[in-house]
Symmetry: C2
Subunit: 228 residues, 2 copies
């Protein structure tokens, strides 16, 4: 609905595309920031309201309820991720499912919001993850054709696992900061202590060939045993 308050210029113009100042957008952005910091249940409507410099009643006026606000945040973040995704596709670096929107500095902390809400079950975020995986399947099929990626028997499984790992590291960015002194929700340029070992694993693998064959054999044995 977006509202778009009557005119197009005088008081507040959302017409500037990205950086609008309408109260509704201000509340939504403040909510994204608050939810990213303390989680949805850990944030009160009053906190969001005061962060957006409005009254709590106005939050209800625009979004109906706290759940409505949360849903609006989910949808906004999801569409922002989708936009960034198509940008990334154009740039050709589609490997990283969220790399494109790695903090554009301006605007609300989308990545930190994602990292928080990935764990407390939102349907919008869930279908966003599903999209990420099926997109990754496509990108990685391209990657196999262009010689970037090795072929695999289970393309969807591999895409799902890699997406889970990437998003999981994002969710645990607090621990990543403590362990490796990197900021996974911030500038990727600075995250080499994470990216380099990750790249090595994705490139060379971590397990030796003979051990891999042995473990795989053991797995398949238990699999057949379970079927019997």
């Amino acid at each position: 609905m977006r509202s778009v308050p009557a005119d197009a210029a005088p008081p507040d113009t959302p017409s500037s595309g990205d950086a609008d100042l309408t109260a509704r957008a201000r509340i939504r952005d403040a909510a994204i920031a608050c939810f990213a910091d303390a989680g949805v249940v850990g944030t009160s409507v009053r906190t969001v309201a005061s962060a957006a410099d409005v009254s709590p009643a106005l939050v209800m006026h625009h979004f109906g309820s706290k759940d409505g606000l949360r849903g609006a945040c989910d949808q906004h973040v999801a569409s922002a991720v989708r936009e960034g995704k198509t940008d990334a596709m154009r740039q050709g670096l589609a490997m990283d499912p969220v790399g494109a929107l790695r903090q554009q500095a301006e605007g609300p902390p989308l990545l930190r919001y994602l990292a928080r809400t990935l764990v407390d079950g939102s349907e919008h975020v869930a279908e966003l993850v599903d999209e990420m995986v099926s997109d990754a399947v496509g990108y990685m099929a391209e990657g196999v054709e262009t010689g970037l990626l090795r072929p695999t028997d289970d393309p969807r499984g591999r895409a799902a696992v890699l997406t889970l790992w990437t998003l999981g590291a994002l969710v645990l960015h607090e621990h990543a900061t403590r362990l490796l002194d990197v900021d996974l929700v911030g500038d990727p340029q600075q995250a080499l202590p994470y990216f380099l070992p990750a790249l090595e694993i994705l490139g060379r693998g971590a397990i030796t060939d003979q051990a891999y064959e042995r473990i795989r054999g053991a797995f398949e044995a238990t699999d057949e045993e379970a079927e019997r």
Copy 2:
């Protein structure tokens, strides 16, 4: 009402090692289950109390405050993980940092509690993660010597990344269930749709050799550029 007040032994004997029935332990286990389900902030003291069949006041009597209860839960889960870890070390399968305690069925859902509290910052859980990483460094050094793992220039970085990925997938177990129809916090025997692609990545890698060299070169270029 379970209660078991006076008989069976003096008042309360946690001396039975694992399966004690003292009210304090019952409250703690109920809290772990509730926190695992709805998160710490999403769970009220009354909910925990009614789950443990006691009054809310008794919770305060035993733990002082909700924060005290949460700390007791953290410590209990941490020590349980440490116990399971030494067991796993004896069995020799130390690769998986949490594989040992993968739901012993009996007792509180430790893994689900871990998956929840990993994201909302507890010092006990944080130092538990630190321990996991330094343990992984040791285990993986052994693995390199025994020919299980490939050597690496950055053993700690690799251990940290693998730990982050494993724990991250655990945290996102809800998405893993939806995507791959596996239960990462449950029986590992059934989680093959996750383990097989993961094993393939860790064994063969996902990126081709020439692409790996190219990307690595690009990374190091940006690194040097950043230094200049």
